[in-house]
């Protein structure tokens, strides 16, 4: 009985080690990568959210263009820990899983990561940075000012409450507090999301809010709301083409633009990483992506992949750390 047991145990160990070695060999052989099973794509936001829409739109474009050789992509919305559980999971994937797992990571997520966890962008391999959603300050019709200069002047002697949503909106408030609010008159109403801020502005609870074009374009077009300044170094197009940037107004450094990125685990194999970078480059520059996401949500296209994308996101992270601008409020 003992002999039989020992034999079975030895056989199991041999089989397991052969399979493990086989997997390693396949990984290190330098052979061209092709997905051998379904690809898990994690999104740390709930279905229907902005990050989820981005993820699913890109998934749709990939399916349409066959960019990942018709591999099945399974999007999973795992919202535990505001994304922290996903970040932790990505650190402990096996080689095979690492080659078949992607994660949507926005710049707003990076702020949360910096504030609440030990993880950093260097703990991931950035596959692509694909789009940006610029934010802007807007005012209601009943506001006592209707442009940025008027706001700055008004703020010198009067209390103003700014409405904002989550982490990346908090960054804009912190920026304004540091650079614009000389007399400590600016306070912040954190509403939780863009819709909550919109509600506060429309309901005349506040008259200044932070928003994104995708949600507010109809309000801007109808004149019910007015944008007074945008972030970034270049002006937005369309209905916001007349709106100046912070940089134009002499306030440098408000470049914390919500950037939509796709990352992989740090231990992804080189061949798999190259494969995804090439595929996402094609997707980011495709007309299908422009039609499905960029034009629909009034975003800006960005098509950095691989080392360029990694450098971009790490630089953005460094800016946040250096400027002391975090998502905490």
């Amino acid at each position: 009985m003992k002999k039989v047991f020992a034999l079975v145990l030895v056989a199991a160990i041999i089989i397991a080690s052969v399979m493990a070695n086989g997997a390693q060999e396949a990984a290190s052989s330098g052979a061209e990568f092709k997905p051998s099973k379904s690809i898990s794509w994690y999104c740390s936001s709930k279905p229907g959210s902005a990050a989820d829409r981005f993820t699913r739109k890109v998934q749709g474009v990939i399916d349409e263009t066959g960019a990942l050789d018709k591999a099945t992509i399974v999007v999973e919305n795992v919202t535990d820990g505001s994304g922290a559980v996903n970040w932790k999971r990505m650190q402990s994937l096996s080689q095979s899983d690492a080659d078949h797992t992607l994660l949507t990571l926005n710049l707003g997520d990076v702020t949360t990561m910096l504030d609440n966890t030990q993880f950093r962008v260097k703990d991931f391999k950035v596959v692509a940075t694909m789009a940006q959603d610029k934010k802007f300050l807007y005012v209601s019709k009943s506001a006592p000012f209707n442009d940025f200069d008027g706001f700055v002047e008004y703020l010198k002697n009067n209390d103003v409450i700014l409405g904002g949503g989550k982490a990346d909106d908090n960054v804009m408030f912190n920026f304004l507090k540091q650079k614009v609010d000389k007399n400590d008159h600016l306070s912040y109403l954190q509403t939780g999301d863009t819709a909550g801020t919109l509600q506060a502005v429309l309901g005349n609870q506040v008259y200044l809010g932070i928003g994104k074009l995708g949600t507010l374009k109809d309000y801007l077009a109808s004149g019910e709301l007015k944008a007074i300044v945008t972030e970034g170094t270049s002006r937005m197009s369309g209905v916001l083409s007349e709106v100046p940037t912070f940089a134009e107004k002499g306030y440098e450094g408000m470049d914390f633009i919500q950037t939509r990125c796709v990352v992989a685990a740090k231990n992804i194999s080189d061949s798999a990483y190259k494969y995804y970078c090439d595929a996402f480059k094609k997707v980011a520059t495709s007309q299908e992506f422009l039609d499905a996401y960029v034009n629909v949500y009034q975003a800006s296209a960005l098509d950095l992949v691989g080392a360029d994308a990694q450098a971009y996101l790490e630089a953005a992270e460094k800016n946040v750390i250096d400027a002391g601008i975090s998502g905490k409020q």
Partner: protein, 497 residues
């Protein structure tokens, strides 16, 4: 074009073969998922939303909206049969539905729920149709101060649920409020998560409810699982579920009142089906002549709860469609889904996408009819479930609870919370602490803190804002009346006796 003409245009699309087919598919999917324990509107839409992306936009949108509506309908079934609310908006339904099922009246309870849901839902839809945009703008008047006062007023109504020892009830309610502090604080940094990444997103409500109501119920059933009541051995036919004239006379006015309350509650920012359900039940308990029998298993109790949460659908859709501001957690998901389909909810929606919007509203009416028909036909089947022996039902419900908790969070975190909730529910039961105030306070807690803090910010640090805002002042006065009057009446009674 008048609202009625627009609605008729919408019906011309919704009543096409494809429209009815996909509406029916969405309604049945929503009914089924909504009836799974703990898998209510928010979780149901989150799970089923990706499925709708496989279809073309017009039918995808119709399917999505009928799915959302039917989720509210379906939540009553597991509440009645298993005492596990299908959604947080069906918690109050368990209070009267399950006792009726235990008495062998499961069919009647479900029929009451169906009828009340139909009436409440219709009221919500009619109000949405004719006053949607106007109602949405009225809802904007409810700012943080108003919402805080309203929620505090709601908290006083928990008094009825305190049980015999009010100190235990209050302690349970306050404990529920305290636990909502776990997660991320107002400034975005971790709070009371004790180093756990999972707890950064707080304690999720769905697995907690599955544990406290579902699994703990199963645990308590274990010693009695071999007992079999007489009611459980009788065969149930559809005709046995018919409501008497007196019962219908009780249900209809209750449903109308609570449907209106639900619709108005749905318009309020961040209120949603759970609060609508709660308000409807509480207010009806006070005004209904059978109010003192609420909680013992009467059709009016079920009607109050179900008509309110279905009425809430129409109310919550008003700000969602007209302003792009979701009225509840479920409509927030719906909004995301609608945006995926190219709909841009907001001031221009009714102008730019007129036909599509009205086909959505019309599809809700169609979904309402489909739900009541399907729900009625399912009564004998569902009633049979209530008669399955406990020896078989217990392990099966345990597995359903496990899968529901896992699915709601897509991770074992949900299961851990469910186990914790089950232990808590079991302990509460053994020590005679009421669970209902704990859960209801838990539901209200995070909204209460959010709104309170926002109100103080808007008041520039002064709590006087609660009195300066007229609507808030009205609620504060009602709150004081609710607190003082029972105390004074109680003292007078003591003096007299």
């Amino acid at each position: 074009m008048s609202a009625l003409q627009s609605l008729l245009t919408g019906f011309s699309i919704a009543l096409s073969f494809k429209g009815i087919l996909y509406c029916a598919i969405g309604a049945m999917m929503g009914l089924f998922i909504g009836s799974l324990p703990g898998m209510g509107a928010v979780t149901g839409i989150a799970l089923l939303l990706p499925l709708t992306f496989k279809f073309e936009p017009a039918v995808g949108i119709i399917m999505l909206c009928s799915l959302y509506y039917a989720n509210m309908y379906g939540g009553a079934y597991s509440a009645i049969i298993l005492n596990i609310p299908g959604d947080s908006s069906a918690i109050m339904t368990t209070l009267d539905g399950y006792p009726m099922a235990c008495r062998g009246q499961a069919g009647k309870a479900i029929m009451s729920a169906n009828l009340a849901s139909f009436i409440g839902g219709t009221i919500g839809m009619v109000i949405l149709t004719f006053t949607g945009t106007w109602l949405a703008r009225i809802g904007l008047k409810f700012g943080p101060a108003e919402m805080t006062s309203l929620l505090l007023l709601a908290m006083t109504s928990l008094g009825w649920a305190m049980g015999q020892d009010p100190y235990k009830g209050i302690a349970a309610a306050m404990f529920g409020l305290l636990l909502t502090a776990v997660g991320v604080g107002m400034g975005g940094s971790a709070r009371l998560n004790f180093g756990s990444y999972s707890l950064l997103s707080g304690i999720p409500f769905v697995p907690l409810v599955i544990g406290m109501f579902g699994l703990s119920q199963v645990i308590l059933m274990m010693p009695k699982r071999h007992e079999r009541s007489k009611a459980a051995t009788e065969v149930i036919h559809l005709r046995d579920s018919r409501l008497s004239k007196e019962e219908i006379k009780g249900i209809v006015p209750t449903s109308v009142r609570c449907g209106l309350i639900g619709t108005i509650t749905g318009v309020l920012p961040g209120a949603g089906g759970t609060i609508a359900n709660f308000f409807g039940y509480m207010l009806e308990k006070r005004v209904n002549r059978k109010g003192d029998r609420f909680g013992t298993g009467i059709v009016e109790g079920i009607a109050a709860s179900e008509s309110a949460n279905n009425g809430c659908v129409g109310g919550a859709l008003a700000p969602t469609l007209a302003l792009g501001i979701p009225g509840s957690g479920a409509t927030a998901l719906l909004l995301g889904g609608l945006t995926m389909w190219g709909l841009t909810p907001g001031p221009m929606l009714y102008v730019k996408q007129h036909d599509l919007v009205w086909s959505v509203i019309a599809s809700l009416y169609v979904a309402n009819i489909i739900c009541i028909c399907v729900g009625t036909l399912l009564i004998p089947i569902m009633a049979k479930v209530s008669r399955v022996r406990s020896t078989i039902l217990i392990p099966l419900i345990t597995v359903i609870c496990f899968l529901g908790a896992y699915s709601s969070e897509r991770s074992m975190y949900g299961v851990v919370i469910m186990l914790a909730g089950a232990c808590l529910g079991y302990i509460f039961n053994k020590f005679d602490w009421p669970s209902a105030p704990f859960l209801l306070a838990f539901v209200l807690g995070s909204t209460l803190e959010d709104k309170f803090r926002q109100a103080i910010v808007l008041g520039h640090g002064s709590p006087m804002i609660f009195i300066q805002k007229p609507i808030s002042l009205l609620f504060i006065i009602l709150l004081l009346i609710c607190l003082i009057v029972p105390a004074v009446m109680g003292r007078r009674k003591k003096k007299v006796s």
